[in-house]
Symmetry: C2
Subunit: 427 residues, 2 copies
């Protein structure tokens, strides 16, 4: 097999990963004379911030996925190849993939992140995560299967275990997931399962720190917690999750919770390709980079997005693993490649934090935008608008819009089909 790439006299930029970071740099390399090869193990981009809505039946899987071949069509200097990276040989400027080797002049690693279980085998085996589309489909399936199992359970213990849902991690994903699952309970399950007493269904959100949304303002944390608790979600702060065996969530200093479902949003780590020296990897399995997103000691290898750890004054352990950082780094690096091609000094990256938001339920969200802090309906409108406008592709934006209007008017989350029954991983 071969990557089947036409030869070119232009310098070659190889980008690994079609997430926010990868697409950002592709866009900004548009007018720069270079041959760009975008590689991803999947043939699509995911709009990750809405995965939790797929998991809770609010959006179709493919309204937040976009074909990368469709994306690169717009750019004459870009080619896409669906390939998995096997190894990086920086001494030879060579990237080995499952479909052949490729030489690069510049290499950009934008491989993103994955769930981090911090070495806990029980959690790794039994918890559900939402970093990829198949994982998210599986989570939705597990939620629906557990309702079905509850409906036919013979003992009360069995039924209650199926109806207890525990979410680990009080960041935006955990908070949004708790809110959305609670809306499923209130608006869908209560009507779909007349044979069940939905009063028995519980949703518990567990956070090890002393507040939810620790990246946001105290006010946002407090409001988010208030919104969740008022709607019936149980919030446990200052509680460490110790272990999970598929049935019992073991907590530090608090009684265990019997639950068939644990949704893990409490840790992420960089997805680093093979061939990167251990010395180059920092906390959270991220690649250490300087302020040009350059790997230490390598002139032409860069990392951007979640997989890159670029420290600044405010973030000594690296910038946060969020879309905004990825997008801004991609833009800056495109500029720096242009400068490098023209023998100019590269410019250091500086992160402009535009703020954070989290949605809790209909009409309820929290938003910190610079000095402005909103909560409730207005924050919800901002959240909805910003997310809609950020989705890649007009058709996807249209379908998400239709689904959101539909969900809002009908109180429905239509996508609750068990397409591929989920069986737990075997060892």
């Amino acid at each position: 097999m071969s990557l089947n790439i036409p030869s070119s006299s232009l310098p070659r930029v190889v980008i690994v990963g079609g997430g926010f970071a990868g697409l950002s740099i592709v866009k900004h390399l548009k007018k720069i004379p270079c041959q760009v090869i975008l590689i991803d193990k999947n043939n699509y981009h995911i709009f990750q911030p809405l995965l939790y809505q797929v998991a809770t039946g609010g959006l179709e899987v493919e309204s937040i996925a976009f074909p990368l071949r469709r994306f690169v069509r717009k750019f004459k200097n870009v080619m896409f190849r669906m390939a998995e990276v096997l190894e990086l040989k920086t001494d030879d400027n060579l990237l080995l993939t499952n479909i052949g080797a490729i030489k690069y002049d510049y290499l950009i690693i934008a491989t993103g992140s994955e769930a981090n279980f911090f070495g806990n085998a029980g959690i790794a085996k039994h918890a559900m995560v939402m970093k990829s589309i198949p994982q998210t489909e599986d989570l939705r399936t597990v939620i629906l299967q557990n309702l079905e199992k509850a409906a036919i359970a013979v003992t009360a213990e069995e039924r209650i275990a199926c109806l207890n849902f525990v979410i680990a991690g009080g960041g935006p994903t955990g908070v949004e997931m708790a809110g959305a699952l609670n809306e499923m309970k209130k608006h869908i399950f209560i009507k779909d399962y007349p044979e069940l007493d939905l009063g028995q269904m519980t949703i518990t959100l567990i956070e090890a720190a002393d507040r939810l949304l620790s990246v946001m303002s105290d006010n946002a944390s407090r409001k988010a917690q208030q919104f969740l608790e008022k709607s019936g979600v149980k919030v446990l702060l200052n509680v460490k999750l110790l272990d999970y065996d598929g049935n019992t969530v073991t907590l530090d200093k608090v009684s265990p919770i019997i639950a068939k479902t644990l949704i893990w949003t409490a840790g992420v780590k960089g997805t680093v390709p093979s061939g990167i020296l251990k010395d180059s990897i920092s906390r959270g399995n991220r690649i250490k980079v300087n302020s040009f997103n350059q790997m230490e000691g390598l002139q032409n290898v860069f990392a951007i997005g979640d997989v890159a750890s670029l420290a600044d004054e405010k973030n000594p352990n690296g910038l946060p693993m969020v879309a905004q950082v990825a997008i801004q780094e991609g833009k800056q690096l495109a500029e720096n490649i242009y400068r490098s091609l023209n023998k100019k000094q590269m410019l250091p990256f500086s992160y402009k934090d535009k703020g954070s938001m989290a949605i809790i339920s209909r009409n309820k969200a929290v938003a910190d935008l610079h000095r402005f802090r909103f909560h409730g309906m207005f924050a919800w409108l901002i959240w909805t608008f910003v997310h809609l406008m950020s989705i890649v592709g007009f058709r996807n934006r249209l379908v998400v819009f239709v689904d959101w209007v539909w969900n809002y008017i009908s109180y429905d989350r239509a996508l609750r089909n068990i397409i591929r029954p989920y069986k737990e991983k075997q060892e």
Copy 2:
């Protein structure tokens, strides 16, 4: 486990299968004093006539699936249970399922149909079919994977095998699939794969009879063939497909075709639950029923839809396996159950053929409606309107409408993400 069904003094009607037949009888039992239990192994209904559009990236999977629990909400006398039938014990009026046993007063078998390979193990193993949603997703994945494989193929033989697609069966599904795949080639693949010469991609439609769409008029057959051939599909009539090993399609009296993909639409058979005597099964594995859709010798067991073989003058081997028959039989049987409950004589079923249609490409379809025969743009409009109006659920209709308008305007089929890579079945 148990079916967890509240006791009732009303007679109990158990319906197995939530396809067109099952939903039709549920609807028409609405005002009849009985307790209705709808059982299906999936928790959703599929709008089967549009599966081929899912396979070719034109529609999202779940725009043609509808949650059965959502469907039964409208009917106060109906309960849904997700269960698989294990065995039927007609002597005891008992249905055994994987979640427990259930007594019935009336049992309606509406389990539909599945692919029939007529005992050919090679075809069964290697061919792709479109009877369920996972099968259809797999088919879409295989098509996309083969394009990706072609893009990195080292030898011309390998590349051409990936680019050759053979469709077996010239009925509506085969014709529509050939047309849709050809549109993917012309409007999508040619732009998505600049590294490939799409002139090498071939689509061959194979039919054993002497014309396509043999259920339709000669005129429709001729026009469909003309539309297909003009757009570049190769049509082989009077050709029998003998075998397939995953690489070579062996044909009778014609040279074999090297192709990595064989799409099988050339046979269906009834899906009969265990416990039905062999004597009760006719040609095509369908349950023999009398004109009341009643199984021979059983007063209270009925079969409707694809799984039932009800012969009439025009159809001595049983009515065709199409949605119209299923829907009409469901309606008639609801009426007959009402009559039976009131000790009245049941009325024989008589099929009103409303005609057939098949779509070939944008603006091109054929339609036989009673004495009226259309082809081209007008038939295409009728097809589009009738299918849109038949989809279950307002939201699904809306999403399909949005997708169709989008596809029409943009010449796009947006859904071409390889979500779950397909690996061939192992023995």
